[in-house]
């Protein structure tokens, strides 16, 4: 490879304990993981294995209970709320249920992260149009989420996640809510993005999808049991 590898996510002995009412739940128990630029990592595991929790930590939505998590060389635990918010602008998160804002059009949804980052209207409109064109939704620009199919919503969500040129893309169960044909198209899109240089981390319990990644991390009961290179 011509480009030198650079670590973008580095987790060391990462734990996360939730309080479920008064009962502590250990969702993660000592995760060690490293993701390099250009990587395509699938985190595979049954529900309850802690993969979504891990994704939330990597997405800077939450802070770990113990251990260190460095994103782009910054220790997440040391960041204040505002700094976390700034960090999130450099992470593209595609949620399992897409989480588009229902009252906004596809274009406005894609514009939203740029609007939050304070990008000028004309500039963000142009970029949003380009992104929607890239995910093949040029003709759906002014449709609201309710007027789009699940696969289309998914693609809007991906376009939105890419809006601020993030350091990496996180996808939570990307094939969980779409049919198999759409899922194939989605896999193609993700692979294309990765080959274009976008670092991708996704969480799934779909073996087929996991096999498309460069590496697969197998999770069980809050621990990574194995990492295989496909």
């Amino acid at each position: 490879m011509a480009t030198p590898y650079r670590t973008i996510v580095q987790a060391t002995d990462l734990t996360k304990t939730y309080m479920l009412g008064k009962v502590p739940v250990e969702a993660l128990r000592g995760i060690n993981l490293r993701v390099e630029i250009g990587d395509f990592l699938a985190i595979l595991g049954p529900s309850g294995s802690g993969k979504s929790t891990l994704l939330n930590l990597i997405g800077a939505l939450d802070k770990p209970t113990s251990g260190t998590l460095e994103i782009d060389g910054v220790n997440v635990s040391t960041l204040k709320d505002n700094e976390l918010a700034d960090l999130r602008r450099n992470i593209g998160f595609v949620f399992q249920f897409f989480n588009l804002i229902p009252r906004l059009t596809a274009l406005n949804n894609v514009e939203l992260p740029m609007s939050i980052a304070g990008v000028k209207k004309s500039e963000r409109e142009k970029r949003a149009e380009e992104l929607l064109e890239m995910v093949d939704l040029k003709n759906r620009i002014n449709h609201k989420p309710a007027e789009l199919s699940g696969g289309q919503q998914q693609r809007v969500a991906i376009a939105r996640a890419l809006a601020n040129n993030p350091r990496f893309l996180l996808l939570d169960e990307p094939t969980g809510n779409i049919d198999s044909k759409t899922a194939h198209e989605l896999i193609d899109l993700i692979k294309k993005l990765n080959s274009d240089g976008v670092t991708i981390i996704l969480v799934t319990h779909d073996q087929h999808l996991a096999r498309e990644a460069k590496r697969t991390a197998q999770m069980l009961d809050g621990e990574i049991t194995s990492i295989t290179v496909n």
């Binding site: 939450d62 998160f93 949620f95």
Partner: protein, 431 residues
């Protein structure tokens, strides 16, 4: 995030919940409309009444009444007012008063009783006022003026001069008393026991031109029946008078203060001396209090609207927990979330205040035009021919606007703060 984008985002949220936002706005509209309507009506009322007062009152006169009471009572009291101390004001005190200060031009005694005037079998209430015609005409040269007939300078005992409204009580040209017609003057003699109705026959010498205003402190009025002072003394069987009107040579505040003090001191603090300015000041105080009271009540309805805003915001907060989580996951800072919620409140407050001011003003104008049975020509005010022209000052306009917005913001603070505290990871799990 840019302010324009925050506003745009907030507005889209309000637009989505049209009915709910509309009802919340309505709450603000009602509160602001009530405040604006009450303020502009009372201010209109105040300026109308002030105007009516100034019609009759001259700045260069002082009114002396018995009793050391201060404020309004000394002026408004009519009829047989005597101070509790037993001090009485007599007609011949006018001579003493004139000699008290070089600033005094003349002094005039006024005897005033509530009685009746009768023509044939029609009897109507009237304020019977005993004055010296020539002095009175000199004192009130603009209002004690005959429209029909002439005011005699040396009247006979049975001469009367009547106000416009006495001549034509229903204000429609049906004249009950015209010049030279004979009128019976009636008075229930309160000095005799048992009470006795005294009466005498008089002849109308003149009818005053319309004046407007109220019958206070012995100033000319449309409802007055004016009889010579000597006749008043003998008919009412008294040498006391109700007030003495002092005309000054100049109307500057120093003269007013000096003469007032001289007169008060002369009578050993047993009299009240009121200047027209003081009356206006007193009135203005009374109106300010009234206004404060009414606006206070109206403000309560705005507070209720504020609670409505808080309510809708908290509901909206619950519905939008997930959305807020998404916004934060996309990198939105807590203070921006706070701003979005406060912006929604500002928009609601602004729209509500603008519509409220417009409808409050509309309501006030309707009242002013008599649309609600309160303006000129309506039943309530027919008698005095008195009009309210609602006044909307820039202060009221801007104040109402600011108040509407501030109330909205204050009540949105708590929900907005809660929204800003939502943690993205928890919000994403929220169903």
């Amino acid at each position: 995030m840019k302010i324009r984008d925050i506003f745009g985002y907030s507005f889209s949220a309000i637009k989505l919940r049209k009915l709910r936002s509309g009802l919340t706005i309505l709450g603000v509209v009602i509160g602001i409309a009530a405040i604006v309507a009450l303020l502009s009506i009372t201010q209109g009322l105040q300026s109308s009444i002030t105007q009516e007062f100034t019609t009759g009152l001259s700045a260069d006169t002082l009114t002396v009444t018995s009793g050391s009471s201060s404020g309004f009572s000394g002026i408004v009291r009519s009829g047989t007012g005597t101070a509790s101390s037993g001090f009485k004001l007599y007609v011949n005190y006018t001579q003493d008063i004139v000699g008290l200060s070089p600033g005094i031009d003349s002094a005039l005694a006024v005897i005033q009783r509530n009685g009746y005037i009768r023509s044939g079998n029609i009897t109507q209430k009237a304020t019977i006022i005993g004055v010296d015609y020539s002095q009175y005409a000199n004192l009130y040269s603009s209002t004690f003026v005959a429209e029909i007939g002439t005011i005699p300078l040396n009247p006979l005992n049975d001469t009367i001069v009547i106000g416009q409204q006495v001549s034509d009580p229903s204000q429609n040209g049906t004249v009950l008393f015209s010049v030279n017609s004979v009128a019976q003057i009636l008075w229930t003699n309160t000095l005799s026991l048992p009470l006795r109705n005294d009466t005498y026959s008089s002849q109308v010498a003149a009818i005053l031109k319309p004046i407007g205003g109220f019958n206070v402190g012995g100033v000319p009025s449309d409802s007055g029946v004016y009889i010579p002072i000597s006749q008043a003394q003998s008919f009412f069987g008294t040498t006391e008078c109700d007030s003495i009107i002092v005309k000054l040579k100049t109307s500057d505040q120093t003269t007013i203060d000096n003469v007032s003090k001289v007169i008060t001191d002369y009578f050993g603090n047993e009299v009240t001396v009121q200047s027209a300015t003081a009356v206006l000041n007193t009135m203005s105080t009374v109106f300010s209090t009234l206004q404060l009271f009414l606006v206070g009540i109206a403000a309560i309805s705005l507070l209720v609207a504020g609670i409505g805003i808080m309510n809708i915001m908290i509901v909206s907060l619950m519905e939008r927990t997930r959305e807020i989580g998404v916004l934060k996951a996309l990198g939105m800072k807590s203070r921006t979330v706070l701003s979005i919620f406060l912006c929604e409140a500002v928009i609601i407050g602004l729209i509500g205040a603008v519509i409220g001011i417009a409808s409050g003003w509309g309501l006030a104008s309707l009242v002013g035009r008599g649309g609600l049975g309160f303006g000129p020509g309506s039943a309530l005010t027919n008698g005095s021919g008195f009009a309210i022209n609602p006044v909307l000052t820039p202060t009221v306009f801007l104040g109402a606007l600011a108040f509407g917005i501030v109330v909205s913001i204050v009540f949105a603070l708590y929900p907005a703060w809660r929204a800003s505290k939502i943690r993205p990871s928890e919000a994403m799990r929220y169903e």
